[in-house]
Amino acid sequence: MTERLKLKKADVLLICFLLAAALALLLLRGGGDALTAEVTVAGETVERIDLKAVTSPYDLTLENGVRLHVEPGGISFCYSDCRGQDCVRCGVLTRAGQAAACVPNKTLVVLTGKPPKGAPDAISS
C-alpha cells in the first residue's frame, strides 16, 4: 500500500498536462480592459452591459422573471424562482472571464474583457 501513496511519473505528467491545458484556455479566452456583462437566455444574447459605465446600482428584471443586480464594476443574480438558488449563491461577478448560470431558467451571465458591440475596440489619434 505504501507505493500507492507516492505520485507516479504518469500522475505528475497528467497533472502538468491538465494545468497547461487550463492555462492555454485562459490565454485563448484573452483579456481586455473593458468589462462587459453578456446576459444570454436560451442561447440568445438579451443584454450587453458595460459595467465600467454603470454609475449607480440598479436591478434588471429579465422576461423569464430572473432579476439581476447591476452595480459599478459588478453583476449578480439577486432573484430567481429556481429551487437550487446556486445562481444567487454565486455572488457578484467582477472580473472578465467569470460566469454564472441559472440552469432552470436557461440564463447565463458572462463577463468579458471586450467592449460591448458597437463600441470601438481602440481609439487612435
Partner: protein, 200 residues
C-alpha cells in the same frame, strides 16, 4: 461458508499482504450492504460539502467533490454497477434538495467520473496512483456537468467555465485521491473484494 482464498489477499508490501486465515469470503449480500453504507457516506459527504462551500471562499461552481472518495472506493472495490447505483442515489438526493436540473447535472458528471475510474483502475492501474485516477475522474466529472449544463442552458459554457473547472478538478481531484489513500486502510477492513486493490 468460510473458505480461504489466499489469492485474494496478495497485496505486496502492505499490512494486508498476510491477512488472518480466518477472514471470510464475502457474499453478494455483504457487498450490497457495503454499497448501501458507501451510498450513505456519499450523501453525508455531499451534505457536509454544501456547508463547507458556504464557508470557503471558492469560485462560483467549484466544489471539492469529497463524496468522490466514497464513490471511487466503491467503483474499485465493489465494481462499476454498484458505483453507478450510488451515483443514481446521489443524483436523487440532489434532485430532492436542488431540483430536477441539478439532478441531471449531477448524474451526468457522476456517470462520466465513475466510468473513467473503472477504465483507469482496469487499464492504467500500474501507471497511475489513486491520485492520478482521482484527478482524471474529477476533471471528467466537471466536464460531464458542464456538458449537461451547456445543453440545458442552450449555450456552450466551455470557454468560460473550462479553465476554472480544469484547475479545480486537478486540485480537488488530487486532494480526494490523497484522502482515499489516507482512509483506505480503514475502508479495507469492511470491503469485500480486496483483490481489486492489488496490481493486476
Amino acid at each position: 461458508m468460510l473458505s480461504l482464498h489466499h489469492s485474494e489477499f496478495r497485496i505486496p508490501n502492505s499490512e494486508f499482504a498476510h491477512p488472518k486465515p480466518s477472514r471470510p469470503r464475502y457474499s453478494p449480500a455483504k457487498k450490497a450492504a457495503v454499497a448501501g453504507l458507501m451510498a450513505a457516506l456519499t450523501l453525508a459527504l455531499s451534505f457536509v460539502e454544501r456547508m463547507l462551500c458556504a464557508a470557503l471562499p471558492l469560485p462560483p461552481g467549484v466544489r471539492p467533490g469529497l463524496s468522490n472518495v466514497a464513490v471511487m472506493f466503491s467503483c474499485i472495490a465493489l465494481g462499476l454497477p454498484f458505483a453507478l447505483a450510488i451515483i443514481l442515489v446521489k443524483a436523487g438526493f440532489v434532485m430532492l434538495v436542488s431540483g430536477v436540473y441539478a439532478g441531471i447535472i449531477s448524474v451526468s458528471g457522476g456517470v462520466l467520473s465513475v466510468l473513467s475510474v473503472a477504465l483507469l483502475a482496469r487499464f492504467a492501474e500500474k501507471k497511475l496512483s489513486f491520485t492520478g485516477i482521482s484527478v482524471v475522474s474529477a476533471v471528467l466529472h466537471n466536464f460531464g456537468q458542464l456538458t449537461a449544463a451547456s445543453l440545458l442552458v442552450g449555450s456552450a459554457l466551455y470557454l468560460w467555465m473550462a479553465p476554472v473547472l480544469l484547475i479545480s478538478g486537478v486540485v480537488f481531484g488530487a486532494v480526494t485521491g490523497m484522502l482515499l489513500n489516507a482512509v483506505l486502510p480503514a475502508l479495507l477492513k469492511i470491503v469485500p473484494k480486496v483483490e481489486n486493490f492489488e496490481g493486476k
